[in-house]
Subunit: 450 residues, 2 copies
């Protein structure tokens, strides 16, 4: 178990947290999971590996990013061709496979949440990791999927954001049918090629997009109309009138406008200010067919989207049935990378312990252990001092970890005492009745003022 032999250095792209940072991460995970559960999304987990042939060709550029997995011993010949495995790079591809594999045992429409690590072998850079945690919800049905789920997804996320100690999040919503119908109404035949160019708006700006569109065969008027559409962003359904003012008509455009209106109006009622209609949002992935979501952290727009997703008419298919779905995913590691990296959030201590039970001398350790047992029996996290050092040293032990209380068995005239080491106040207390203040029971996780 010696670590002597090798120099120890972090591996780029594989972040690890100290205990105090991990408490922040756990708080985020707890809020995310409990909110998913409040909305009736049970958890599933899928294995970390999929057959490589299932991973390649899914999700755009992902081919380059896949980590292959092989036994170092290498005697895989008995395992057959399915032994060529890779680590999953998202949770959607494994979920699609899980749905088909278990279709006979699931109740549709099937809701699930999934919080797991994924791996991508891309070049690490700020906010990009090779190992990171995604938090997904999806609803999938057989054959048809009701449109109201498209309004439900972002509301779950808005509720999570409102509970977390983070700057404001704005969920940008669009419907793929709007730009698609708009292009068709303009008489554009290469809709996909056109949208791919418009999608570069954030990176290269409107002038260069217009030039590229004309280069690709669009007229200057078509190019300008596409840019006018992409510039529309409203907090309510007024985007409909602004689109109509552009004078383009197509039945698919009308479908998209109606669907996006329904999502935005539901959001206005349930979570005012959380969502905007943003007709620039396209999402790079080709399989989205209806509503699409991206999310900006206000004041940190340059970091891109922390929560994205959309509707796909064919999440999965097994030849007999097609499974349409809608889903949305929080990129938790990216969000925490920003917040912890910039010191925008912190935990009040480095340990779950609310109390350190002191030890007067080693002979009386059993009394300290008994006090700790009595505290734990009432749900108060605590630990016993490692040595019977001077009390000052034991208090410093607690202080360094942020533990707010030190317990002193048999220290007073009437028995035990407890000290709040922040105020210095020390009072008589009994381990079987003392009330730990609710706000001290668990570490608190709070935003730090910039």
């Amino acid at each position: 178990m010696s670590a002597r032999s090798t120099k120890i250095t972090p591996i780029s792209g594989f972040p690890e947290y100290l205990p105090q940072q991990r408490i922040v991460e756990q708080h985020f995970l707890d809020v995310i999971r409990s909110t998913f559960e409040l909305h009736g999304f049970p958890s599933i987990e899928t294995r970390a590996v999929e057959p490589v042939e299932r991973l390649v060709g899914k999700g755009g550029d992902a081919d380059k990013e896949i980590y292959g997995v092989h036994r170092l011993a290498g005697d895989d010949e008995g395992d057959g061709p399915e032994s060529e495995l890779g680590l999953h790079f998202d949770l959607t591809v494994p979920f699609a496979r899980y749905v088909v594999e278990n279709a006979g045992k699931l109740n549709f429409p099937f809701r699930r949440h999934q919080i797991q690590k994924v791996w991508r072998g891309e070049r690490p850079q700020e906010g990009r990791y090779r190992e990171f945690t995604q938090c997904d919800i999806d609803v999938v049905d057989v054959g048809e999927l009701s449109g109201h789920f498209e309004a439900e997804m972002p509301l779950v996320m808005a509720e999570i954001f409102a509970k977390l100690p983070i700057p404001q999040m704005v969920i940008q919503v669009n419907n793929r049918k709007i730009p698609e119908g708009f292009c068709r109404g303009l008489g554009i035949e290469d809709v996909a090629g056109t949208l791919r160019i418009v999608d570069k708006l954030d990176k290269i700006g409107p002038e260069k997009v217009a030039a590229l569109l004309v280069e690709a065969g669009r007229t200057p008027e078509q190019a300008q109309a596409c840019l006018d559409l992409a510039a529309i962003r409203t907090e309510d359904s007024s985007f409909v009138d602004r689109v109509r003012a552009l004078g383009v008509e197509h039945p698919v455009l009308e479908e998209g406008l109606a669907a996006l209106s329904a999502v935005i109006e539901t959001g206005r009622v349930a979570a005012p200010g959380a969502m905007v209609a943003d007709l620039r949002i396209a999402r790079g992935l080709d399989y989205y067919t209806g509503t699409v979501y991206e999310t900006q952290l206000v004041g940190h727009e340059s970091w891109g989207s922390f929560c994205s997703g959309g509707r796909y008419d064919e999440l999965a298919s097994d030849g007999k049935n097609t499974y349409p779905g809608v889903g949305i995913s929080i990129g938790l590691s990216r969000l925490l990378g920003l917040l912890l990296g910039k010191g925008l959030v912190t935990a009040s201590r480095k340990t779950p312990s609310a109390v350190l039970v002191s030890v007067a001398d080693e002979a009386s350790r059993p009394a300290s252990v008994a006090a700790a047992t009595a505290l734990r029996a009432r749900g108060i996290p605590c630990e016993v001092a490692p040595t019977a050092a001077k009390f000052g040293k034991q208090i410093r032990f607690a202080d360094r970890r942020g533990i707010p209380y030190v317990w002193f068995p048999d220290a007073g005239e009437h028995g035990d005492q407890v000290k709040d080491i922040r105020s210095g106040e020390q009072v008589d207390a009994r381990a079987d009745t003392w009330q730990c203040p609710e706000e001290d029971l668990r570490p608190s996780v709070v935003a730090v003022e910039e």
Copy 2:
């Protein structure tokens, strides 16, 4: 996202659960984590990968089992030699590395818990997986580690077992100094070789062990004494007298007897019946130097140990400091594999939802969403019916998922009503005041009578 192209089959050794089974797993994980936290063990997670050179040669036979990881794109030349990575096969090797890497930022003695998946490329068989979850606690210190931690570890686990809906667990405890000192007292020079043979007792029985010992150069008397020692198993400290009755003396033996007595007596007081002194327990791993633990599920002894660990004088070393530690680990996937495989435990439903809010017609869906929002605001998990089907069909939707209550907005003379679909009782209720019975708020996870 089509799943058409490839036949979908499970991958041997990589178990996946249905939502109802996952609820069982989550309950176990929640009990384990909350108990670890009650005892003041903060969480850490380490990356899934370590440099291969750090993994090989650690943990006995593990070399054969390591999964290597490589980017399929393969242009790793820029990453340097550290890019030869493998998936971790336990949580101890990464923890040792983490301690050395972060020693300057950790407070010692450092306690931590770690609940993560690990991977081993061994041949899958009953109760053995290639991907599985381990739940570890360890305490590590610099230079010296107090002995009282060796009594604390199994008590945390005993508390977890008492909270879980499982058959009785018995933690078998030994101290490596007892067989070692005993051998030395017998005049045996090859202590390690002797103990390796005695360790085969469970597999081949006492006669064959005796024969092997004699073959390896022990006298028949030495072989018999070793077997006599290994046969000692007591629930209290009476093992000391039984060892003394064998007439062997050595200072290391005395150290071991005193240390094991302290652990067993602490256990007798704090968790009667949870621990036994079992002098047969050796643990295959070579790095244990003091107390060692194994755990049997009563009635399922043939499955081997579900919870093991021990003390190591050199968990890690960085050339300047040595870090002794003591730890214990639950093999959660193995335990659940047994319990779920044999149907010994189940969850009361397939979803966190306690309530299905019905929808009378699509036009009134907003009223159903509002009722659901009001229920969630008071912590009641619920979901809204996917379609405005006949109420009978909506009730069957709830019934198939095990959701106990169906909510009917505006169904009664005075407003909303709620039906307990188990009893059929339907009463007036308001979404902002209705009390969901505590036992129905979350799925319950219970043992099934054999």
